[in-house]
């Protein structure tokens, strides 16, 4: 399994051409057949690869991503390339503009293989909530790849992209990365511009890369942390340049690092997951890290808090899909504009999206907002404060990614709460705006990967990546 850094070195040393690299990805895509893509841009990718190769031939790669095949979750706006949000309502939408992500990778000279599948508007944990079909887990096709960025995780795992950018509102990259045995990293809220990322829950959404190694995260992150004046919530900090630090990283970096273990987190996991988490903790200890007990007493309320906030924001964010200016319109609805709205939206959105819009609309509605939305925002502050307190005694926090690992397709529960509980360990990170990284570690009873999550302090993304890398390079 070749990572970005290795490919970059080979491109630089002319051991491989960008065209060969992308051809290899395309053939892996066909072989794997996991329905990871919504739109494969085969012809365009080959042309772009040739262009990159010509540049590399002349001057060498201009950065780590030059000539590297990648994919974007179909929530990222790509000019003149269909962008569906995994939903029927944008089935034929061809954006008239480029989002930040697309622009940055064009600038870097990356080769876009295509747009990958996801739960509609990022709403789901299994990638089953989409008319484009469930994405299969490349490691075992009976299993889900996870969601909502299932296409991103599957494409990296199957080798059709060297990296993929997903979105993470409540765990949507960390969870599928974990289900597919690779690395998913959600930067601090505000660290990466959201311009051109189709919104779900604006105060929680963050673009988030999926790749094979932590080192690769370093290669990607320097290209996507340049301040974007078009997103006010994008923090004006210098971009993160840590590839050299990560290349030279030694496991000894962990010596004396304090790693917080939140009370009760691990015990709630499935037995096989728990076993592996404990093994990982042991390794950290052996490498000289100090495990510190911390408490996040309000984290257990995160699912309630998250669903009220995310759906409230979504109810407004998804109001623009009304069939008037773009997207699906019921052409038969002619009894007034109201009918056009209602029919177009009802036909365009999937079931789970409608459920969340309805919940969010209710949570904001007059007479209930204080009890639901506002109450959730207060609990959100308590969760935020819990982390601030915990971080007084540790550098990063160790946590499960999910109580289980990948489950079988169609097995996801009809009970919405059980379904939402998949995100129990990833959600608090979004609520508090922290950086979090899911790392693969071990295998579960079903022979599919398991892993753990490290959570960093706000805007201390570099330190989080260094600690994760130090663990990655252990002997």
């Amino acid at each position: 399994m070749k990572d970005i850094y290795t490919l970059h070195t080979e491109l630089k040393n002319k051991k491989i051409s960008a065209v060969e690299a992308v051809k290899d990805c395309l053939s892996k895509l066909k072989k794997s057949n996991c329905n990871s893509f919504i739109s494969v841009l085969e012809d365009k990718a080959l042309v772009d690869a040739q262009t990159s190769q010509d540049e590399i031939q002349k001057n060498g790669p201009k950065n780590y991503l030059h000539g590297v095949p990648y994919s974007l979750k179909d929530l990222f706006i790509t000019k003149d390339i269909r962008t569906t949000a995994g939903s029927k309502i944008l089935y034929n939408y061809i954006p008239p503009y480029d989002g930040y992500m697309s622009e940055q990778f064009k600038k870097a000279g990356g080769v876009l293989v295509g747009k990958v599948g996801c739960d509609q508007f990022g709403m789901g944990s299994t990638n089953e909530n989409t008319p484009f079909g469930v994405v299969l887990n490349p490691l075992n096709k009976d299993y889900v790849a996870g969601g909502s960025s299932g296409g991103s995780a599957a494409s990296v795992a199957e080798g059709s992209s060297y990296f993929s950018i997903g979105t993470d509102t409540g765990g949507s990259t960390r969870l599928p990365a974990n289900f597919c045995g690779i690395v998913g990293y959600k930067p601090s809220y505000g660290r990466v511009s959201r311009y051109g990322q189709i919104a779900y829950g604006s105060s929680l959404d963050q673009s988030a890369p999926i790749a094979k190694t932590v080192l690769d995260m370093g290669c990607i992150i320097s290209n996507i942390t340049e301040k974007d004046p078009r997103d006010t919530t994008n923090v004006p900090l210098p971009k993160i340049e840590i590839v050299n630090d990560l290349v030279n990283m030694k496991a000894s970096y962990l010596k004396g690092k304090k790693i917080g273990l939140p009370a009760g987190f691990i015990d709630a996991c499935d037995a096989d997951i728990k076993k592996n988490l404990l093994a990982a903790i042991d390794e950290f200890k052996k490498l000289g890290a100090e495990m510190v007990d911390v408490t996040l007493p309000n984290a257990k309320y995160c699912v309630s808090t998250y669903y009220l906030i995310a759906t409230s924001e979504a109810s407004a964010n998804l109001a623009r899909f009304d069939g008037i200016h773009y997207g699906h319109r019921d052409m038969k609805a002619k009894d007034g504009i109201e009918q056009t709205y209602v029919k177009s939206r009802t036909q365009g959105f999937g079931e789970e999206v409608k459920r969340r819009i309805i919940l969010g609309t209710f949570s904001l509605s007059s007479g209930y907002q204080d009890q639901y939305f506002a109450k959730a925002c207060k609990v959100r502050r308590k969760i935020y404060n819990d982390f601030q307190t915990a971080f007084k005694s540790c550098d990063v926090i160790f946590s499960p990614v999910c109580a289980s690992n990948a489950f079988k397709i169609g097995q996801s529960d009809n009970d919405p709460i059980k379904m939402y509980m998949n995100d129990l360990y990833t959600i608090p990170v979004n609520l508090a705006g922290l950086p979090g990284i899911a790392l693969p570690y071990g295998k579960g009873a079903n022979q599919l990967p398991t892993g753990f999550q490290l959570i960093g302090k706000t805007f201390q993304d570099a330190e989080l990546l260094k600690i994760a890398r130090a663990f990655e390079v252990r002997a």
């Binding site: 939408y93 061809i94 008239p96 503009y97 601090s188 505000g190 105060s203 004046p229 006010t232 919530t233 923090v235 004006p236 900090l237 309000n298 309320y301 699912v303 309630s304 669903y307 009220l308 109810s315 109001a319 008037i324 200016h325 773009y326 997207g327 699906h328 319109r329 609805a333 009894d335 007034g336 504009i337 109201e338 009918q339 056009t340 709205y341 209602v342 939206r345 009802t346 409608k354 459920r355 819009i357 309805i358 919940l359 609309t361 209710f362 509605s365 639901y372 109450k375 959730a376 925002c377 207060k378 609990v379 959100r380 502050r381 308590k382 009970d415 919405p416 709460i417 705006g433 706000t458």
Partner: protein, 107 residues
């Protein structure tokens, strides 16, 4: 929050606000779903939030950082989209405008 019983009317009212149509046959399923979630989120009642300000976004905790430089935009004109690019996704367009084949009720 007190026990909230989700009625069919609630579901219909909220759906109407959200401009969604729920078929009569689906109302019960939406109602159940919503009831389950509202029963679950009742757990928040147990959290003492007296004197706690809502946190609407993590940015509120880092305003100093955000305001180190002005987060506002200069009042300088930049190119708009070409009309064709703007209207290319419109379900219907006419005379350089979006078209709706429906009379718009006056707001």
């Amino acid at each position: 929050m007190s026990e909230f019983i989700v009625s069919k009317e609630t579901v219909k009212h909220v759906a109407k606000l959200a401009r969604l149509e729920i078929a009569e046959s689906e109302v019960a399923s939406f109602q159940q779903h919503m009831q389950k979630i509202l029963n679950y989120v009742k757990e928040l009642d147990a959290v003492d939030t007296n004197g706690i300000e809502p946190l609407y976004s993590p940015v509120y905790e880092n305003l100093d950082l955000y305001y180190k430089t002005s987060p506002l935009r200069h009042d300088e004109i930049q190119a708009s989209l070409e009309v064709d690019a703007l209207l290319k996704n419109a379900p219907q367009a006419s005379q350089g405008q979006f078209k709706v084949e429906a009379v718009i009720e006056e707001e």
